[in-house]
């Protein structure tokens, strides 16, 4: 189902969305940055402009999350209370790179032992995508097989044209939402078929570079022993910013917190494979003791290991790792080196 929304009906549309559930969208912060946050006033929402530095991943997989609370009894046994969250939420303004990322995170947490915390949130979340017209010079979504208008993972996809917004409804969840707010939307004529392809063409022409990683998908491990890793890890300071801003990084640490002598919780927090202690064995042995091994782990996981596990790159080309790196390690440069090594071997 495809609809049109008049430009001057946008505010009313957003207000309707806000009535249905907690609305999360890019809003301008006091610091002048844009961030995905629960919206207080729809006037604060800024849909256009570059993608926020932090992805909306945290609304499904929060930076810190309580898994359960416990109350200790005298005998040392504890009563547990699961803390699942099922508040309905709508996330609006998600670029295709981040839609892909959420689809990956959901897929990752669905395999074998299901992660009920992420999946329960996902069940109660409606994802509204936003066709990207403002790529940054760090963006490389086309290198990993994505496109600036791909709606994979979205319940509803929106795109801005000069005279209207295109609203494409893709799932039952999306349809249920739109049916609650019918009056604002108009039918979309056949000619609107051209909207997304034209945005795609326009945006892709603005993307700095395309490295064809699809042609070497599944063979990237042949670069494992290459010397390229060291040339990057020599400058890496292992701060982990790339992992914390990555929309597909799923690793976490968990720990217990005692609030009183008897009451506390087990929580988890994002963790980073760039940290020395991430793989440190109890015995003191560390299989990834060097920055080189850890930097390679992050890159190989994105382009090789997740392909082995789920058949998917776990990099969506959003470029946040490059954007947030304090020593200017450029992911596009890394994947160019990888492709060179995989295609032609090391010099």
């Amino acid at each position: 189902m495809r609809k049109r929304l008049k430009i001057n009906n946008l505010q009313a549309f957003l207000q309707e969305l806000q009535k249905q559930a907690t609305l999360i969208a890019p809003v301008k912060t006091d610091a002048g940055e844009r961030e995905f946050r629960p919206v207080e006033q729809v006037a604060d929402i800024v849909l256009e402009g570059s993608n926020p530095l932090r992805s909306p991943k945290e609304y499904l997989f929060p930076q810190m999350e309580t898994l359960y609370t416990f109350h200790l009894q005298k005998d040392g046994k504890a009563t547990l209370k699961e803390t699942l969250h099922n508040e309905p939420q709508i996330i609006l303004g998600i670029r295709p790179c981040d839609l892909h990322a959420i689809a990956y995170v959901k897929e990752f947490y669905s395999t074998t032992h299901q992660d009920v915390y992420v999946l329960e949130k996902w069940k109660h979340t409606i994802l509204i995508g936003w066709a990207c017209q403002n790529p940054l010079n760090t963006c490389f979504c086309t290198s990993v097989g994505n496109s600036p208008v791909d709606s994979k993972g979205a319940d509803i996809m929106m795109a801005k044209t000069d005279s209207f917004y295109l609203v494409e409804v893709l799932t039952v969840k999306g349809k249920d939402l739109i049916e609650k707010i019918p009056s604002l939307l108009e039918d979309s004529p056949e000619a609107d078929n051209e909207v997304l392809p034209s945005i795609q063409k326009q945006t892709e022409s603005m993307i700095r570079e395309k490295v064809d990683l699809l042609s070497i998908k599944g063979r990237i491990d042949s670069a494992y022993s290459s010397s390229i890793w060291k040339s990057y890890s020599d400058v890496c300071i292992a701060c982990g910013a790339c992992t914390f801003n990555c929309p597909t990084c799923t690793c976490f640490d968990s720990a217990d917190l005692l609030e009183t002598c008897q009451d506390g919780c087990r929580y988890r927090t994002w963790d980073t494979c760039q940290n020395y202690a991430f793989t440190l064995h109890a015995s003191g042995h560390n299989p990834r003791a060097t920055r080189e091994a850890r930097l390679r782990q992050r890159v190989m996981h994105k382009y090789q290991y997740s392909v082995e596990q789920l058949g998917l790159f776990s990099c969506t080309g959003c470029g946040r790792c490059t954007r947030s790196c304090p020593v200017n390690i450029d992911m596009v440069s890394i994947i160019k080196d990888i492709k060179e090594v995989v295609d032609h071997g090391e010099e």
């Binding site: 799923t250 690793c251 217990d256 109890a282 299989p287």
Partner: protein, 295 residues
């Protein structure tokens, strides 16, 4: 996001521990204790495979992955043998009979015991590595008629660090079973084997490789070798085995990567395309060759 009124609950949440009471505590060495726990009826494992592990926890302290030494399918008890190494294991060491332990599991793949039927089993353990292998020993004795001979080769740093001392005396008395212990360096009053359980530096110093030869000849396909110990120890054994061209699909190793969740989600134990907690911790030597050496 704390404002939700209704907190749903899931009956299938792999992160929630259950509590089991401790039936018995015993001191194995100065730093190793064993804990026998009674499983509540609703938490009997559907199936337990030797080599699997549980996540043990104390609320307010934390959680640690611990190999199972034995699951008794009649009394529904689990036996753990725990070295005091970190915060959680130190706290577990303070627990006594009647106290409760938090448990999640069993996790991991375990040894493919079905494929060992009819074969001789050689267990090679370094130090605390004997703990997961004991679950194989117990399974062997419960179903001895289905297997060939059992050979246990155990190396400890010194005579003070020998675990399951009493049990090994009993195992030696059983039919079709041999049990050899070696300690790293000579000691006053020790008249047993001396040297690493597999000695790379001086093979002639290592009786174990001779024993392996003894077992693997003439028919190598009739013996499986299970190795558990630190990476430096099992690498030496694998190197030795490669010199005699032992089949790599009949050798199994248990990896012990750092892990938090036990269910392939937290990422700590990721090694190449595998999660050690879920795809392992047991890997055949053949599989191990395809993995990046990050264990």
């Amino acid at each position: 996001m704390e404002k939700n009124k209704k907190i749903p609950s899931s009956t299938n949440n792999p992160y929630l521990p259950f509590f089991a009471s401790i039936r018995e505590v015993g001191q194995q060495t100065s730093t190793v204790k064993h804990f026998l726990v009674d499983l509540p009826k609703e938490n009997y494992p559907e199936k337990f495979i030797p080599g699997q592990f549980y996540q043990l926890s104390i609320p307010g302290v934390g959680e640690a992955p611990i190999s199972v030494s034995d699951y008794d399918p009649i009394n529904h008890t689990l036996l753990f043998c725990i070295a005091k190494t970190g915060v959680v294991t130190s706290q577990i060491h303070t627990l006594q009979k009647g106290d409760y332990l938090g448990l999640r599991g069993p996790f991991g793949n375990g040894f493919p015991m079905d494929t060992f039927r009819g074969k001789n089993i050689v267990l090679v353990a370094g130090g605390i590595g004997l703990v997961p292998l004991r679950s194989v020993v117990e399974d062997y004795f419960r179903n001895q008629d289905q297997y060939g001979e059992l050979e246990i080769l155990f190396g400890a740093r010194n005579s003070q660090e020998i675990i399951y001392r009493e049990e090994m005396k009993q195992w030696r008395l059983k039919k079709k079973t041999t049990c050899k212990i070696t300690i790293d360096k000579p000691e006053k009053g020790w008249d047993g084997n001396v040297g690493f359980v597999c000695n790379l530096v001086d093979k002639s110093y290592c009786d174990c490789s001779e024993v392996l030869f003894h077992h693997t000849s003439p028919d190598q396909t009739n013996t499986v070798i299970l190795v558990v110990g630190p990476p430096v120890m099992f690498q030496s054994i694998l190197n030795n085995l490669s010199t005699i061209h032992f089949p790599d699909d009949l050798v199994y190793v248990s990896l012990e990567n750092h892990m938090k969740c036990g269910i392939g989600k937290c990422g700590h134990c990721n090694c190449g395309g595998k999660y050690v907690c879920q795809d392992g911790p047991i890997f055949s030597w053949k599989e191990l060759k395809t993995l990046e050496k990050e264990y």
